[in-house]
C-alpha cells in the first residue's frame, strides 16, 4: 500500500449479508511473529532421563529412611480407651490446633472449605494475574484497606486468644508494612524485592506461614489434653 494515511474501520449496515474480510496494514506496524522459536530438545532422552534420575534419587532416599526407621504401630484399636493426646496425622494437625479454639463447624468445615475454595479461584481473579507490587499503585487507599483488614483480623484472633495464629499474622503484617515503605528505588535488594510483591503473594505467604506454624505447634507443642508442652521437656 503506497497510501500513507491511517484507516478508520467502520461497520457496514449490510455487514451480515455481505461480509468482507479486509486487512488493514497501518504504517507503524508490521506482521509480527506471535511466538518466539526457542531452542527445543527431544523429550526422550532429555526429559525422561531427568525425570528418571529425580525419581531414582527420591527412591534411594526413601528406601534408606525405610531401612532405618520403622512406621509406628500402637496397640490394638480399643473403642473403650482413648489415648491422650489423640492426634490426627501430621498434615491435619494444623486443623486440630484450630479445633482447640473454634467449634468444629468453623475450624473443621468453614475454614477448610474456604481455604479450598480460595485456592481454586486464585487463577480466576484479575488481581492475581497482574504482577504489580501491592503498594505501588493507589498507595494511600490500599494502605487504609490493609490497616483495616490487618487490625480487624488481629483483634478477632486476640479476642479468641488464638495466639498461635496471631503471631504469624502480626509478623506478615509487619513485613507488608516494610514493603509499603519500600519502592523499586529502595536501597536494599530486600526492600526492592518486597515492594514488587503483589497481593496474591502476601495472601499466599500468610497462608503458608500459618500452615507451617499451626502444624508445628500441633506436632511438637501439644501434649496430653491438648495442653501446651515444651518439646524439650520430656514427659
Amino acid at each position: 500500500m503506497a497510501d500513507s494515511k491511517d484507516f478508520t474501520a467502520g461497520i457496514d449496515s449490510n455487514a451480515k449479508k455481505s461480509p468482507r474480510r479486509i486487512v488493514f496494514i497501518t504504517r507503524r506496524t508490521s506482521a509480527q511473529v506471535k511466538t518466539d522459536s526457542e531452542d527445543q530438545v527431544q523429550t526422550f532422552p532429555e526429559v525422561l532421563f531427568r525425570a528418571a534420575v529425580a525419581i531414582m534419587t527420591l527412591a534411594v532416599a526413601l528406601v534408606w529412611i525405610s531401612l532405618l526407621f520403622n512406621a509406628p504401630l500402637e496397640g490394638l484399636a480399643d473403642p473403650s480407651h482413648t489415648p491422650n493426646p489423640a492426634k490426627a496425622p501430621w498434615y491435619f494437625l494444623g486443623l486440630q490446633e484450630m479445633l482447640h479454639y473454634f467449634p468444629p463447624v468453623v475450624a473443621g468445615v468453614l475454614v477448610p472449605g474456604l481455604v479450598v475454595f480460595a485456592l481454586i479461584v486464585i487463577p480466576y481473579f484479575k488481581v492475581n494475574i497482574e504482577a504489580d507490587g501491592l503498594f505501588l499503585k493507589d498507595r494511600q487507599k490500599r494502605l487504609r484497606i490493609f490497616y483495616l483488614i490487618a487490625s480487624g483480623l488481629s483483634l478477632f484472633l486476640l479476642f479468641f486468644k488464638v495466639y498461635a495464629a496471631l503471631v504469624p499474622t502480626l509478623i506478615v503484617a509487619g513485613v507488608m508494612l516494610l514493603a509499603a515503605q519500600s519502592s523499586p528505588q529502595s536501597s536494599s535488594a530486600l526492600r526492592r524485592y518486597l515492594a514488587a510483591r503483589p497481593l496474591s503473594y502476601w495472601v499466599m505467604t500468610w497462608f503458608l506461614f500459618e500452615l507451617v506454624v499451626l502444624t508445628a505447634i500441633g506436632t511438637f507443642f501439644r501434649g496430653p489434653g491438648w495442653s501446651w508442652v515444651w518439646p524439650w521437656q520430656g514427659s
Partner: protein, 266 residues
Amino acid sequence: MAITKTIDQYFDDLRSTRVWRSVFRSGTGSSTLHRALAIQQNVFLHLFSTKVRTRMLGFSATWYLGTLTLGTFLILVATGIPLMFYYHPSAPQAYADTKDLQFVVSSGLFLRNLHRWSAHAMVFLVFAHMFKVFYRGAYRTPREFNWVIGIVLLLITLLLSYTGYLLPWDQLAYWAITVGSNIASAVPVMGNKIHFMLLGGNAVNANALLRFYVLHCMILPLTAMFFVAIHFWRIRKDGGLYSHASEPATLRTNAAISDSTATEAQ
C-alpha cells in the same frame, strides 16, 4: 572384551527379529526421528510431546516437585499392592495382619515402612509443588484449569492418606479417624448423614474399615490416575511447563500492545 561384543551382537540380532519388530515397531536408533517415535508411538509416553523447550528443563524452575510427587505415587502403588497380599480388611484381623507384615512376612517390614514414609513424603511434596507453582506464577492464563485439577489432586492425596491411616486398625488409626469423621458430622444440615455414609454406620467399626479399604485401594487410586492423566495432558496443551521467558511475546507485553493498538485504531 570379546564376550561383551558378543552380547551386543546378540542384542542387535534380537532387535532385528520379526517378533521384536512386531512389538517395538519404530525400531531403535539415536536419530531425532527414532527418539521422537519412541515417545509418539508409545501408548503411555505419548502423553508427552516429542520436543520440549530447553528453558523448561532447568531444576531451579520447578525443583522437579511435580515429577517427584508422581514418583512417590508410583512407589506407593508398587509397595501397596504387595501389602494387599497379606492384609484382610476385617477388624480385628487387620491388626494381626499388620503385625504379621512387620514380623513374619519376608520384606514385610521394609514394604510397610516404605509405604508409610512415601505417603508422608507425597503429602509434603504435593503441598510444596502447589506453593512452587503459585510462587512462579504458573497458574495464570492459559493454565488456570490445570491449577484447579492440581487442587483436586491435592484433595485426593489427602483423602488417600486419610483412608490409608485407618487400615492398620491400631489405637493411632482408630482415634484419628474417629476424630476426623466427627468433624465431618459438623457440616450443617447434612453432617450426620455424611458421617453415617462415610463410616457405613454410627461408629468406626468393621463397615468403616471395609469402606476405607475399598476407597484407599481402588476408588481413590483410579481417580488419582484419571486426574493425573488430565493434569499431564493439560501441561502439554497449555504450551508446556511455564517459564516466563518462554511465554509468547503477546502475553508478556499485553498491556503495551493494547495501548498501542488503541491509539492506532483512531
